[in-house]
Symmetry: D2
Subunit: 485 residues, 4 copies
């Protein structure tokens, strides 16, 4: 795509694949709203008061139909919003079009190059001369990363004129980040400082992004308050678990139409995501093998009847390999060479370095046969055996399917809205320092509550006597902070 | 589409959506072959002998990638093949293109009108002046039906010049059949008699089609031998059950992206298809309600923990309704009016009369909103509530997704190949009369055997002593005919 | 026990472990009646008419609480009954006591020797000078076997005075049978001929017993009509499947208290019993391996996610081994020697020759440590590793627990009652020849129907129009004979 | 039983049901050791060093086979031990006998009266003139409670001679506690002060007991350090969840032999225990309804396909009711009156006040029919319908079966051993104040690690590079403290 900003009739900026898909996007948005009771309740509860009036929110989060409902909840509460996706394959173009046309500045399309990806991220952060954003909604932490790297680079430049050097890294993506920072430095050498200073805070929703935040907090480099939305129970124990249980088979089916029953599926990692993935594969009739480094999670896997092995033990006979670890170098090209013909290799963790794509791409003589977008067969020259790689090693559920379904995303995104409200409402109170916070349990419980009626549930009420017996308020919160659910 | 026959460079007839998709179809065919060991074994075992040399085979069966592998197995064994789909939405256009270009005469595209559908069926049966077909591969029995109706009409015409009268029926589809027969009668008043006379037999693979065949056998109207492939264990207990377990959620996800977990799903009918569907919904976290007329199947459903109710008991609170009965008038428009907003209504049984689409389409003031092809929201004027209808009430797994996966279809289609071989090899022996037959158990066991190695199974061998103790041959068959598996 | 017949005050014969347990038995009978709606319906429907008036029924079937409800149903319908168990460990002594005291002549106790077992079987068949029985309720076919062997022996004796020779067999149990026949021959050389002549028929309920009957029918040696109750759908697809799914874990827990989760369980055979067992082990969190000789059943196991291997592949690492094959020599002592320490070895098939108990018992230096009745640890002298054998290799669910629960046995036993009624009502009509019959489908459906209300199910009713469309009567039967459920 | 202390030949005190069962207990202990790798590893790792040399440990914890292995692990590490059970029905008499004979002072038998129960607790705390205990292993907190109440009473008595007044409470059990304290006060008015002063600490393993400890910590009344073993992941997410998944069906089967498949089971509470119970009932083929007060847990239940209702919604049609809440007054007698005949009512939570046993016992005209110990049918006079109460409303898995299986208890008890070691080793260091602590994560992970090999698991090892990427030590701990598993 040509990297130029377009404008709607009303003057709002955007860059999307195809504005003509906006109607289709709107139709699916209408359906999604019915499945997202938490977000719709936020509109009902807070809409009239316009609590976000004056707030400029930048989001870096998969530009899907569900995200579109989130964005329009933020705008319904008064915010002005700019958005980019946090993954090159995860955008649903009709969702992007509908939002760009109707509600917010969107810079996202399915199948961005890395160059395009960071250009979009820059655009989403670019609020023009009046400055902004005030708040960031982050997924994976790339918006946050860019600001922190920007500040670091500006400090170096201010000190002695050192410019960021793209050649200083072998990481292709980080090279681009450094290029961006270098190219903009002279023109605006305090851009990220200003941004960081203004920022009220970020809410971050992935395990991966949160880990980065805690590291920054621990080493004192965090530049603004952060709310860890991932560790709301109604996020990590729902979206990560039940979302992936839904979207792993969805992605596999859309990408490959493969029969899962009877196959051997290896799930790497048995955290919340891995638990959902293993459960889905078992439910579909596969035999599941789990790999783990953590003995507690390994023992959990065993208690569910999964075999716990190392990759080397099963690499030659398994049919489906799915990484969920949040770590890197999980499946190397040397592993892929040992696999059965047409073994399926995919990743559902946030980043694309769980699978050694670089090793595969540079393997001498390897041949890539694109079956369809996001489904490639890579054939090794000597064995003539191929492996089928989904979404080029990136999030397969968003690359090959449409990600998590609306209902579970309503839980996650209601947490996002609440976190954003909390940061904004307390922007002057000093409640939040440059640290990482989780939402209080009563808000977590509230998010769940907003999703019960849709499913026909009837909650039991505690009597005063019972509440006092177990020493909790009648209206909750019902569990101690350390409770694991 | 314009209803005109096209020809390949080699002169083979076809009509498909888009010949340029042939390469894509070939790539998916390559993948599917790896997943269809039964069919590939047939090629290996029988290919050299060319047993179908001289045989003209007409197929009326969903023109998917899997069917493409079947067709190329038939041609690899020497047959000449003409093909149409047996459902207006089930064709995969890239599969049709690949076959049309490379292997057989194909008349099929996704989204035929009923008019187009029967035109395609006629074309698949039209072998030109030399006559044919010799064999039919049928799914649902439409090719067989056309021939039987044709013979009936020709008899009436021969008797007293009576022509078929499309006005004699209110059934829209049957009106078309009668029109076709009427329009062709004068030109070729013995066309179907000649066809029926020549026909060696048909192999039929659906519960629905088989029921028709038995009815015809019972009332003496069956015109040629038939092999009931549906009741091979490796068909009805695999494709119907495990195929639907896979493709129901696949269709739901592709059509609606709806979260299945937490929802109430009503499965109508608890036969093999219903068992697969209920199991899939339970596995995905839904609460499942089953409706049944047969107390035995109802008791089976209860033993698996499903609630057994009538539609009227749950119509107002369920979220997903899926018919699998093979019967008609299962969900009426009066039922749909009572449903929750955006309840999903779909059918995975062979015919489209399980759901009262006519009642819905003609409901005063109803509004149809097409979200995307095969996904419509129908809104009732008074309540403003909508129901989401998949694939216009037809087979939702083929209309909204890609049908059953290759591996399980390999079981079904290997039965088809074996049945066709059996009919052809015995065409002069008189072994098969104008009756319905099932394949002998040792062939059924053979089909299963061909699929074990791919899944890494190791079969135990009986000793002579053990075989004699349980009174079976060491090599099988291992079970009495009445065994239920 | 001393082998002497005792008499109640009313003069009815019996031999049980402890008559003082009759009250306890009655209490559990009261509970069981509530769980056995099929049998209780028979009492309601037929009781007043006393259809069994004059009928003498001998039963050879596990003398449990559920069987007690069956017996009292037979007597409530007018029959006179004598009973023995068909397994040395399966009697529940309180059930036997209650029946002996209140309703019928019982000869059964938990822990019979083989000698005692056959003495009990003789007693159950011994109706005294007036002769009998008229009908047999059989489970495994031992009562039927004794009569057939008796007739064979009497023929030989009549011919040339040849007496049965216990030394002619190495089978310990058959030696006893021959001894019994030999010892009684002189006194009553036509005993079994008279019995066979009088017999109206037998109803048999096990896969194993039925196989014997078909063999006798096929070779022309069957002496009276037989109804194969096992192959009623409401028997083999319920009792065998759901009964074992319940009672395998029950037996394992009562015998060993072992944690099933995390263990590797090998199920031998994937018929109805094996399906139930595998499902139970998976549900409890075990990893399940299936062994099979039949490729169809093997493929079914794979589709459920089970690994299909041979014993030799997993003998060294599996934790639980359970045979369900109906075949012999499944686990040999040479296999047991290779097992892990404290591997659990058990059998849930009808006969005790699936496990090589003789090989184990006679293994040089092996040491038997009885943990408690029916739970033994056998330690090999060299390895010091032990295997835990349940119920001495016999039916572990009846030996170590209480067998199948009442509700599912109500299905099986209602079939028995209906079969007995059918035989008795048609005793003079000539309807039944010396062949094996299955019950007609409408009776099978009726049995199911009688069990629906208890579980709160609401059956859907066919309209006339629908019934005619699918060509079945509105009231059933709904399926063709070959339907597999 | 006569409440008199007996002595072994070696002079160790005890009171058990039947010393002749010691051999049987030892046999089962031998089996259990093989299933408890965590405890056996403790013996191997620490045994030689005798770290508990000089420590007097009192335990109040179900006196089962598994506990026996725990006790002998403590003694193998050098401790002197006195033990009572923490539930009147949970003792396994053969386990008590084996320990009393061989290893420790035991005061416990199955079926204690409340009077006897507290006598046993007193005995377990009574170390004679030299004083003790040094450490307490507690389950439910009764030993801890007695000491705290004792201290409170002694304070009152010291102040103004006030004696505990049993009439001051209507709680039958607390009346007994007060009586004990009153009766012993004059003789030894500083008994509990001395005990509390000496005590190094307690380790507590139940949700219920831990809640009490936190309450005491919060209000400043906690008299000695406590380690919350319950909230070790390897306890609450294993024993509570997988233990109950095993032992709920076990208890139901042993107590009632009821068929679970097809039934409606209501699980009260969806915490770890409720999750295990619901999962077990679903796996056994029941339809599961969950009641919850906490919206988060309710939403989790919905995601697994359970219906979430209030008791009032389903009281009339459900078959099985099981409380797991840790709260009181969950099922009242007024509820029980509405239930179906022979509905099963049971509790698997720690205390017996979840079910309104007092209301039931005092209901006018109610009739109790004891089927067998711990299985009673209570019949209401007007309706003639009965409810079946298990274990008199107490822990049904321990009252009606044998509690959790060895393997999962090995996890829990390894935590106990580690906690006791920690308290004892740090007894002089001041590390532990009068607060409640949880074990550090690396010890939790270690407990899991000790249980992997037995199940054949192979843990993946992190590379240094990977460990650094995710910022954890190569050897763990691998998760942040708030991680929920």
């Amino acid at each position: 795509m040509e990297l130029s900003v377009e404008k709607t009739a009303s003057g709002r900026e955007y860059k999307v694949r195809d504005m003509s898909q906006a109607d289709f996007g709107r139709l699916e948005l209408d359906l999604a709203e019915v499945e997202m009771p938490g977000l719709m309740s936020c509109r009902t509860e807070f809409g009239a008061a316009q609590p976000f009036k004056g707030a400029k929110i930048t989001g870096s989060l998969h530009m899907t139909i569900q995200t579109a409902v989130l964005i329009e909840t933020l705008t319904a509460l008064g915010a002005e919003v700019r958005w980019c996706s946090c993954n090159i394959f995860s955008t649903q173009d009709h969702a992007a079009a509908a939002i760009a046309r109707d509600s917010a500045a969107v810079f996202a399309w399915k199948g961005e190059t890395l160059q395009e990806y960071w250009w979009c991220t820059e655009r989403a952060l670019d609020w023009g001369p009046d400055g902004g954003p005030d708040l960031i909604v982050d997924d994976g932490g790339d918006a946050t990363l860019l600001i922190h790297e920007g500040v670091k680079a500006e400090d170096a430049y201010a000190k002695d004129g050192t410019l960021p050097d793209p050649e200083s890294t072998t990481n292709a993506e980080f090279k681009i980040v450094l290029t961006i920072l270098r190219d903009g430095m002279k023109e605006n050498p305090q851009k990220y400082h200003k941004m960081a200073e203004r920022l009220v805070g970020v809410s971050e929703e992935t395990t991966t992004g949160v880990k980065r935040l805690y590291q920054m907090m621990d080493n004192g480099s965090l530049l603004f308050p952060a709310i860890n939305v991932n560790d709301s129970v109604t996020k990590s124990k729902f979206d990560n678990l039940y979302g992936c249980r839904h979207s792993l088979p969805d992605g596999l089916m859309r990408a490959t139409d493969v029969m899962i029953a009877g196959k051997v599926a290896v799930i790497f990692g048995y955290g919340d995501v891995g638990k959902g993935c293993a459960s889905a594969m078992k439910a579909a009739g596969a035999r599941v093998i789990v790999t783990e480094i953590d003995p507690i999670c390994a023992l959990q896997a065993l208690m569910e009847g999964y075999q716990v092995l190392r990759l080397e033990d099963c690499v030659e006979y398994a049919d489906i390999f799915c990484t969920t670890t949040g770590n890197k170098d999980i499946i190397m090209v040397s592993d892929m060479r040992k696999m059965k013909n047409n073994a399926i290799v995919c990743n559902i963790g946030h980043f694309d370095n769980e699978i050694d794509m670089e090793g595969l791409e540079t393997f001498p003589g390897v041949k890539r046969i694109t079956i369809k977008p996001q489904t490639d067969r890579w054939v090794f020259p000597d064995t003539k055996r191929g492996v089928i790689i989904l979404a080029e090693g990136r999030l397969m559920n968003l690359g090959c399917a449409t990600g998590h379904p609306s209902f579970v995303m309503s839980c996650s995104f209601t947490n996002q809205v609440i976190a954003q409200l909390e940061l904004w409402n307390e922007r002057t109170s000093g409640k939040y320092e440059k640290k990482v916070y989780v939402l209080p349990k009563h808000l977590d419980e509230k998010v769940a509550l907003l999703h019960l009626e849709k499913l026909g549930a009837r909650l039991t009420k505690l009597s005063d006597d019972q509440a006092s017996y177990i020493n909790v308020p009648v209206g909750g919160p019902y569990k101690p902070a350390h409770y694991r659910y």
